[in-house]
Every structure is written in structure tokens, then in C-alpha cells.
Subunit: 393 residues, 2 copies
């Protein structure tokens, strides 16, 4: 029996997040701490903000890592931008759209839902109609729905929100760093992400950005933001010129994020996105041989970093996942909500998006099917992946 | 000029927090991650909860590290236990009592303030009177007021709250791990702390505990908790039997906390508290020689881990702090609010509470005074501290 104090076993993290953290990031977090108001730390904060602006592709002054996970980022945007009685349109095509509705309702907003099937991207026309009909303060959508693997057309959704006079709010937890993000070009008013997906840092911080217009709205609220911890006006004072103490920043996590951002800048965001796409292509080539079919039918609507597939008929996905974890040390994800028991979610995120990991997970899946007594496939899934990797197709 | 990407300089952290993080804790955070629902991680969570119960001296099932700093813990307790229109009594004798009022008011509570001078402990009689008069749902106080160094009588305050039928809520951010804490014996309903003070972990987690009675109150609310991220009913399901996914736990930070808790258990809490007291005694012996007078007059009302002193007449505390930082690499704190410019705050917290650090900070303070042209003291402050250390007086 393992001790309750034992450091967990090593795992290859190919689920919906957290993703593998590179050794350089882990080492950065082992550095001794300085204080949260130390001049050296303030300089580091400035650099982190500037790098996050580069990643979000924005000039927004208010761009910083919140002291909480991606869900805290979601809550922060909604509780700052919405006041009690405000209307918000929320696109719901998976768990995280659902969560936005819950968070917005708790903040006292009137929530207008626009629903799509889990596994489909958000329908832009119906989103636009809902905005035009209900004239909301804000219209929120999930760019990359982690629960299903569906990537929505964020540029078109933001345009639809703007056309209806609403502030577009974007969840890019699973897309930032692994798919193209253009906050300014898309005229997104505010966006949030998480560090544990394509940024390849541990969970614990939520990079957020908000336009001057959005921040002006927060400053002009009739009532105080209900959350003290997430109040953007006070966070802006700590991260901005004033340097007013708000709460003690999670220094070690920010050291890790700094190292992750360095790695992203050294690779270049275009190369990084291309690497995610190539890894997914190789993965799908191998999965097809094994009989796993993609849940999201249109290729360009698949999140590059997270692939949801249906298991072959008669294969229990939970047994497959357990086999991968216990026999191969590989974590992959299952389905949630209406997709529970129906899909597997394989994340090739951040540092995980590499052909070596594609090979490992395909070999492990093949082994799992063999243990379940399935017939050997006609060709070799690993070879199919490698062929895709070599040919770039 | 330093690069915005440079890892900050090494510092000796003797301010009001963060405190020095031992190498073993830093190393623990450099371990590769597992997933937040991995069986090995779930086992680790159980162990962390059990160790936190030992530290809080409670059998409360709901005892866990929240995914945010101490301020998130404050907000969590108040937004879970209070509903709009509820009355809460809050003792205010420094910045963190003030903050509680702000947080509770944002949650829609009617706040009854009981004020004491900054630097004084909370007056138990007036606290009891306010509770008796206003019959609040809860009565909140700060055990160790980090902004002033004052330690209040938590047992007596909790009793006063109970006598008036109110749930006692305790801030023990700066006391947990460095002063005696008795959640169950004091009948505290809910308490929160932070990792970056006497627990000697980086900032980023807030250990919290709440009694079954408090959790029953949260479950029986008329309205949902306004914060989704901090909702205790959902956190209880993730950390409890159900293991229902809520948000992705900050895995690396929890590895660090595990290592910190191991160090505390190896030392023993009584020995740890005694070490904090001894370090403060030595520090005060040396400070007296240098002409720094304690802000808190009654010795047993001083926080063992954080000593606030007035600078000698005519000495600018900001110059002293800057000298310590730039010439000696030592961070200490200044005053806040009405005490700004009037006091220095020296933290000997967690791993920092050691005679070697007392010596370093006293020598640096002596050097700062000499630079300011002050007369050499009649005796040696370092020797006074060492004499106290040797004699245990």
C-alpha cells in the first residue's frame, strides 16, 4: 500500500489537462522566492504581462495572470463585467458553456442560452440572432470546448456580439498557445485562459485580458464587484502603475509561467500551433487504423490540442483508460455529461504535442484493444502515424 | 539594467510574508505532475487533508487547501456562510479586519464593526456586547493581525460569539503553524489561513476548515453561493467521497504544501511554536539595544512570528527598509494605513524563525542606523540576541 505522503508516480499526461510540464519550467519553480512587492519581482511582472499580450495578440493594458485556475478566470470576467439584472447571452455546446451560465446566474445576470449539441461548434447564426433579439451587455462563448473537442469560430462569434452591441467574452482555456488567438483583431472585449493546457505550466494561474472599454465598464459599475479577490479595479492597481498591495501574488507559479512564456517565445507561436496540428494529424491517422472515429466531424472545427474520439463499437472506454493508466502510465480523458462513457479525449497539449507521445498512446491503445480480445487491425497504427509525421499530411 | 525575464535576486524574506521556503519544499514542487483525478493524487489529497486537520487541531471533515491565496480563503468563508441581508459582526483592529468588512459587504451582509486601535488586540468585552446586541449569523475576527503584529485572544472571542448564538469565523493566516491554534477546543465554526507565512510554502493556497454545522448551513442556503469557484458544497464533493470534478487543482502547489506539512510534522507543532517564540525573544532583545520599541505593549498579545516596532525618533523607516533590501538582501515590511511610515514589521516565520536570521537582521539594522549617522549603541545588539538565545529568556 502506498503512503498518503508519497509523491505520485510519473505519468504521461495526455488528457484534457494538466499537460506535461517541461523540466525547465519545473526548475524555474524551484527558485527561492522574493517578496510580491520586491523591485525585481515587479520587473518580472511587467515582463510576464508583455509576453501575455503577445500571446493573446492584444495591446490591452489589463493583461495579467489571475491568482486562480481557469475557472477563476471565467468567474472573474463574468462578475466584473456583469451587474445584477444585466442580460448576457451564453453559447452552450459543452460543459464549460454550461458552467458560464451557472457562474453568470450566481452573479445575478439574466442568462440567455444558445444551445448546440455537445461535439458541435457554436452555430454563429443562432448566436447572432440571440444577441440581436435580447440586446445583452455581453455575449460569451467557449472558443475550444474542452469537454467535446469542438473549436468554434471565435472571430465570427465576436463579430456577431459586436454587431448586436454586446461585449464579446471568450474562453480560450484550451486554445491559447495551441491554436491561433487574435484578441484585438477579433475585437474580443475580454478573454481568459489557464496555464495547464497549451502553455505547459502547472495549473493555478489564469491569464486574462480585458480591453480599456471593458475596464471602463468595470470602473463605472453602479455597485462594487461582488468578489473582492477578483475585482479588476484593484488588480489593475497592483499590476499597473500604482503597485498597490492587493493580495500576495503566487510568486512560484509566476516563475513557472515566466519560463513557459520564454519557451513559447523561443519556439514562436506559429511554429507551436503548427506542431499541435501536426501531432493531431498523426494521432488521427493512427486512431483511424484502430477504429476510433473523431467526434467532431469537420476537421477545421477540431481543437488542435484535444482530440475527442468515439471508441469502436463494443469497447468500454473506461476499461481502455484504466489500462492506459495502470499498464502504460498514460493519462487520457473520458467523456463528461451526455458524452460520459461514449468518448475518449486525448490531449496533445503544449509540450505534450510531440510524435513520441503519439506513438506511445497509439501503441497503448492498440494493446488495450488486444487485451479486450479485438482483432488485430489490418495495418499498423504507429506506422500510420509516423507516415503522417514524415509526409506532413 | 536587468532583463524583464531575469529570475529575481536571492532575498532573505523577513517581512510579513512570503517567508523563506525550505529547499525540500522547493524540490517537491519540481516533481513532474500527475492529473488532478489520478488515484495517486487523490491519495495525496487525503493525506494533506488529514495533516491540515492536525495543524488546525480539528476533526472537521471539510478541511482542505483552497486554490487561492489567504484572501481567497477570507472571501470563501464569508460568501459561503453569509447570505444577502444576514448580519455579521467584524472585529477591526487592522487592515485584515477592514478587508473582512469590505468582503462581507460585497456579499450583501449587514456589517457591524467593532473597532480597536491598530496595534491593540480585539477587546473581548466590546466584541461580546456587539454580538449580544446585534444577534448576527456570524462573528469574525483576525487572530493575528499581520498589519500590526497584534495577537487577539481567539478562544475568548470565539466563546463570545457562541454565547451570542453566532458562528465564530477566524482568520489565522499569520498564526497557523507559528502560534497555538485550537479550532475544535475554541469551537471556531470556520477558519482560513495561507501557505506563505508560518507553513513555509509559497503563496497560492489557503488552508480552510469548516465544521459540519457550518457546512450544513451552506447546504441549507436559500440562494446558491454567489462564487462558483469558492462554493464549499462543490469543493466538498471534489475533496470528499464523490471526487466530482470541480476545477483543476493546483497540483504543484499541493506537492509543496505536502512537503511543508511533512516538515511541520517532523518538527512537532509545539516545538515549532516554541522556536517562533524564542526567535522573537532574541529579536526583541537586540532591537531594544538599537532603540526600536514594540508597537504591541503586552508581550502575550504579540504575534510570535511577526514583530512590529517603532523606529527610534528621527529615523525614516523607509530608508532603513531600502538599505536592508539593497545592501543586505533582506526584506522586512513597513506600516500600512494609519501606521504607514511609523513602524517596521519583521517576520520570523516558518523556516525564517531562526537565530541566524535574527543576527543578520540586527546587524543590518545597526548598519542602517550607523549610515544614518546615529550614535553607536552602548552595547552590542547581536550579542544581546545571542545572550537571549543561550539563556532562553
Amino acid at each position: 500500500m502506498k503512503s498518503a505522503h508519497a509523491v505520485p508516480e510519473n505519468r504521461l499526461l495526455l488528457g484534457p489537462g494538466p499537460s506535461p510540464v517541461p523540466p525547465r519550467v519545473l526548475r524555474a519553480m524551484a527558485a527561492p522566492l522574493v517578496g510580491h512587492l520586491d523591485p525585481d519581482f515587479l520587473r518580472l511582472m511587467d515582463g510576464v504581462q508583455e509576453s501575455l499580450r503577445g500571446l493573446f495578440r492584444t495591446r490591452n493594458r489589463f493583461t495579467l495572470p489571475l491568482s486562480g485556475t481557469g475557472s477563476a478566470g471565467m468567474e472573474a470576467l463574468l462578475v466584473n463585467l456583469l451587474e445584477r439584472g444585466d442580460t448576457v447571452v451564453v453559447a452552450v455546446n459543452g460543459l464549460f458553456g454550461e458552467r458560464m451560465c451557472d457562474v453568470a446566474a450566481r452573479a445575478g445576470a439574466k442568462v440567455v442560452r444558445v444551445e448546440d449539441a455537445w461535439g458541435s461548434p457554436v452555430d454563429v447564426d443562432r448566436f447572432a440572432e440571440a444577441v440581436a433579439r435580447s440586446r445583452p451587455v455581453a455575449a460569451a462563448f467557449v472558443h475550444a470546448e474542452t469537454s467535446t473537442g469542438a473549436l468554434s469560430d471565435a472571430g465570427a462569434l465576436a463579430r456577431a456580439a459586436r454587431d448586436g452591441g454586446a461585449l464579446p467574452i471568450m474562453d480560450c482555456v484550451t486554445s491559447l498557445g495551441g491554436a491561433p488567438i487574435e484578441v484585438d483583431a477579433w475585437r474580443v472585449a475580454a478573454a481568459y485562459s489557464g496555464t495547464q493546457k497549451c502553455l505547459a505550466s502547472p495549473p493555478g494561474l489564469s491569464p486574462v485580458t480585458a480591453s480599456d472599454e471593458a475596464i471602463a465598464r468595470v470602473r463605472g459599475r453602479k455597485s462594487k464587484v461582488e468578489s473582492w479577490y477578483l475585482d479588476f479595479t484593484m488588480l489593475a492597481d497592483y499590476w499597473g502603475e500604482g503597485r498597490t498591495y492587493h493580495h500576495t501574488a503566487p510568486i512560484t507559479a509566476i516563475y513557472g509561467l515566466r519560463a513557459s512564456l520564454d519557451l513559447i517565445e523561443e519556439e514562436g507561436i506559429e511554429a507551436r500551433v503548427a506542431r499541435h496540428r501536426a501531432a493531431q494529424r498523426s494521432l488521427l491517422a493512427g486512431l483511424a487504423v484502430l477504429g476510433f472515429e473523431p467526434l467532431v466531424l469537420v476537421p477545421e472545427r477540431r481543437i488542435p490540442s484535444l482530440t475527442a474520439v468515439r471508441a469502436p463499437d463494443g469497447v468500454d472506454e473506461a476499461i481502455v483508460r484504466k489500462h492506459l493508466l495502470t499498464e502504460h502510465g498514460i493519462e487520457i480523458g473520458g467523456g463528461l455529461g451526455p458524452l460520459k462513457g461514449k468518448i475518449l479525449r486525448i490531449g496533445l497539449m503544449g509540450d505534450g504535442a510531440r510524435i513520441g507521445n503519439v506513438v506511445r498512446v497509439l501503441a497503448a491503445l492498440g494493446d488495450a484493444l488486444a487485451r479486450l480480445g479485438r482483432k488485430k487491425p489490418a495495418s499498423d497504427p504507429v506506422e500510420a502515424a509516423l507516415e503522417s509525421h514524415r509526409s506532413g499530411r
